[in-house]
Symmetry: C2
């Protein structure tokens, strides 16, 4: 059997989403590390796979290629317990996945990138106050929802939880203190307790 | 029959996506205009519907609420010709929808917002050079794909085309010249030719 290949960078939360789902559904795959911090997503070979120049990229055994972490999650989760069958619940899963990419990741992941990857005197550090403000707005919305719900959609974890977990659980890397977010911290622990859970970079 | 309600702002491309799809599938609905430029998405009443404070919001006849324009598109398009049944093609539709929200809308829609809605001496105009650069990167990726494909996924229009059409066809409002993008212009004309097409703000 030829395995699907995931092109990704181990430190990236967007790539970790795919790793985590594949571990939770116990699906074998091949991992190809791509160092986007050193230009490896800008080579002609990589851009032929994904013209957007980003990881993760999913390549099926027959060569078909899928990009965008949250689209990959939905594709791989089909038929598993991490994607509900119900039409309305699927719509809510998508709602949270788009929230993650528009209102959460651009602040929390980007703050983490700046803090972890850029020099202490890099000019992009000037973006941090705004990123922290917007990131805390996203965390407050998550906290509000999780105060009355165990998971983002329905009574069980879905790809929505996997996607939001990816950068929320390492938000401290970008300077976010999760101490005030009790419901988020409880939810992070529930996700960590899923059978088959693997840590980021693991 | 009680109709679903769309809370939206007529000038918004994200809201227009929903209007356009509902027109194309000939589905009746109630429209409630919400002026987000004058704080109407920040009232307690609106935030009770969508804590994120954004339009569009879809409210079903039974009171259930869905947010995020592209999640609304997927939900409403189920069973229509604008959402493929095939698992792989659906994944590709989602790929383009996430591309739109992460790599296209934050540049092209935001440039349009700044140019149309803010004063000529507003400090946010300083963001325009970067927004134009990134927006043109997104347009170049669209152009590359549409040079060899009539539609974004498969041989027929889908919600991916509707979502990307919404802000691409008014990119000039944000200072983007579409003259160099011949394949995009042909594709815009194909979308405009869909039976039931309605213009933005129409």
């Amino acid at each position: 059997m030829t395995l699907p290949t995931v092109y990704g960078m181990a430190i990236s939360g967007n790539c970790y989403k795919v790793q985590l789902l594949l571990a939770l559904i116990d699906r074998p795959y091949r991992w190809v590390e791509v160092d986007s911090a050193h230009g490896e997503t800008r080579t002609p070979e990589f851009l032929a796979r994904n013209p957007v120049g980003k990881v993760p990229v999913l390549e099926l055994a027959d060569g078909r290629i899928l990009t965008e972490s949250n689209a990959i999650l939905c594709y791989l989760a089909e038929g598993s317990r991490y994607l509900p069958d119900d039409h309305w619940q699927r719509a809510l899963v998508l709602q949270w996945l788009f929230f993650e990419q528009y209102s959460h990741e651009p602040y929390i992941a980007v703050a983490r990138f700046i803090c972890l990857m850029l020099d202490p005197d890099h000019p992009r550090r000037g973006e941090l106050p705004r990123l922290l403000e917007r990131g805390h707005q996203a965390l407050a919305l998550l906290e509000q929802h999780l105060s009355t719900h165990s998971y983002l959609v329905g009574e069980a974890p879905s790809v929505a939880d996997i996607a939001l977990f990816a950068y929320t659980h390492v938000a401290a890397d970008g300077g976010f203190d999760l101490a005030p977010y009790a419901a988020i911290r409880d939810w992070l622990a529930r996700v960590r307790g899923e059978p088959g859970f693997v840590p980021l970079g693991g």
